[in-house]
């Protein structure tokens, strides 16, 4: 059995992200919202976010809070017009190989099991 790191990561049938889209203005956000931050509408529908995207900007974190493994690459990825925050994985986190504009795709990896054997699944973006 497995559980996603956040509720907007859906694991089945294929891993993908799900956004809340405002039915009035089409603004998209992740997570539970009480009203649209753009137009104040209160009706949302769930929409799948494309799993492929373009890396818009990034940083490589070398020094972080206790317990956060470094270095890692944090980035913003444009997935079909929706900006998504996530780490770049499956590539060495150095500015020599990670570049703005590169094509990436969603990927998932295990964060280990809890005491009852449930596996936590995280997402990142890897080069296409």
């Amino acid at each position: 059995m497995s559980i996603p790191i956040v509720n907007y990561l859906v694991l089945e049938p294929q891993p993908h992200l799900v956004a809340q889209e405002c039915t009035a203005c089409k603004a998209k956000v992740f997570g539970r919202h009480n009203a649209c931050p753009n137009c104040f509408g209160q009706d949302f529908v769930e929409v799948d976010v494309p799993t492929k995207g373009i890396l818009k900007t990034f940083t490589i974190v070398q020094f972080a809070a206790k317990g956060v493994p470094v270095p890692y690459c944090a980035a913003i990825v444009d997935c079909g017009g929706m900006s998504v925050c996530g780490n770049i994985v499956g590539i060495e986190p150095t500015p020599e190989v990670i570049t703005r504009g590169m094509e990436v795709q969603l990927s998932t990896y295990s964060l280990g099991n809890d005491a009852s054997g449930v596996e936590a699944i995280a997402f990142g973006f890897e080069p296409v």
């Binding site: 996603p4 490589i60 809070a65 703005r100 449930v118």
Partner: protein, 398 residues
């Protein structure tokens, strides 16, 4: 038309490490010196705005140290814009006609606090339990992006102007080089040593492209301002009127919706809004500014704010910086105090301290770092979350 407001007295403690003083010693120091500078006492204050983000003190505890007169206190919290918010609260009360004099104080004691970041990742759980609005089963810092400020502003800077390839490590390091050069003239700066481009680039990397010396410096410090209505000011002495500094614009904004803003903080929209409103309120334009103190919490932030504050043509911040315009001998000196990377950034004090810096130049009292003939200046702060304060100040014509 509401009342004009002025700064009657203002003070900034030296920034750095004050091991022998606690938070209330620091805020008392700034408040008492600001009152002395204004030539008034606590008895004249009718309102207080107070900000101390990390230390847990409030304006009432300050009053127990310097004078309990029963006046209303607004204890404010607005991230790095906390000091500007305290000042804004006092200004609004005077503009509203509810007070003719008030005191704004910002203080922080964070020397040696290390990295100010989100959270820590706990050990293996008994059961993964979804929590919060995203159903997160663990802290997300480092798992889904970064909560670290150095990394957030790195992403903001590298994205400048649709990711102009010239917005690179060396450019940001050259902006920090300016900061560390300017601070050599500021006896109140936490770090007054000059740093070469090579030293800055070879410093330990915190979050690419920000090395340690490209990040704001945690330190202790406080700043306080006495604000007065113009009507009241005109009843005071010639000397008080001569040294008073006019607050031509006082603006506070929060971040308006933009497509990506809930994934990466958008520091641009609210700063642009604040700058536009400030220029309109003051009835002046960017070309009228003699100096600017802007919120360079990280080197990359300074670049985007050249554009956001309209100091350069839209999209032209890189050429603008490369022209030398923002060095102290340039046509638009920016952060002649040294800015947050070298002067230091005691969080809640910063939004009053940058007003002190501008006011001190307008009074012609800035000593070796004085911008000669300065008549108009702007102070800008931004706190992530987000909140932006912009104040435009003018030299007294009284």
């Amino acid at each position: 038309m509401s009342e004009n407001v002025w700064i009657l007295g203002i003070y900034m403690t030296p920034f750095g490490k004050h091991a022998d003083k606690d938070v209330l010693d620091l805020s008392s120091w700034a408040a008492l010196e600001a009152l002395k500078d204004a030539g008034v006492t606590m008895k004249d204050m009718q309102i207080m705005g107070y900000g101390n983000l990390m230390g847990g003190t409030n304006g009432q505890s300050l009053q127990k140290q310097i004078g309990q007169t029963g006046i209303p206190v607004f204890n404010v919290s607005n991230a790095c814009a906390t000091g500007a918010t305290a000042l804004r609260a006092v200004i609004m009360a005077i503009k509203a006609g509810e007070a003719d004099m008030g005191l704004a104080v910002g203080v922080e004691k964070i020397a040696g606090a290390g990295l100010l970041t989100g959270n820590t990742v706990g050990d293996g759980p008994e059961n993964w339990t979804p929590k919060g609005r995203n159903g997160a089963i663990m802290p997300l810092d480092g798992r889904i992006g970064t909560n670290g400020m150095a990394g957030l502003f790195a992403q903001i800077g590298l994205q400048y102007n649709d990711s102009d390839p010239r917005a690179d490590f060396e450019l940001f390091a050259r902006i920090a080089e300016k900061s560390h050069s300017h601070s050599t003239l500021n006896p109140n700066a936490a770090y007054q040593n000059k740093m070469s481009l090579e030293q800055i680039m070879n410093d330990p990397m915190i979050a690419y492209p920000h090395t340690r010396s490209m990040c704001s410096a945690n330190c202790d410090g406080a700043a306080a301002a006495v604000v007065v209505s113009e009507t009241k000011l005109r009843t005071l002495s010639q000397e008080q009127q001569r040294r008073a500094v006019k607050i031509s614009a006082s603006i506070l904004t929060s971040d308006p919706w933009s497509e990506a803003c809930q994934e990466l903080a958008d520091v641009n929209g609210l700063t642009r809004n604040a700058a536009n409103q400030a220029y309109e309120q003051a009835g002046i334009g960017p070309d009228d500014l003699d100096l600017v103190e802007l919120h360079d919490c990280f080197a990359a932030a300074e670049l985007v704010h050249y554009d956001n504050l309209k100091l350069c043509e839209p999209g032209n911040a890189i050429d603008f910086f490369n022209s030398g315009a923002t060095w102290r001998d340039g046509r638009m000196p920016v952060n002649v105090s040294g800015g947050l990377q070298s002067k230091g950034h005691p969080i809640a004090a910063t939004g009053v301290a940058n007003v002190w810096e501008i006011a001190t130049h307008l009074r012609g009292e800035a000593g070796p770092r004085q911008i000669e003939g300065a008549k108009v200046g702007m102070a800008h702060v931004i706190g992530l979350g987000s909140s932006c304060g912009v104040h435009i100040l003018e030299k007294s014509g009284l």
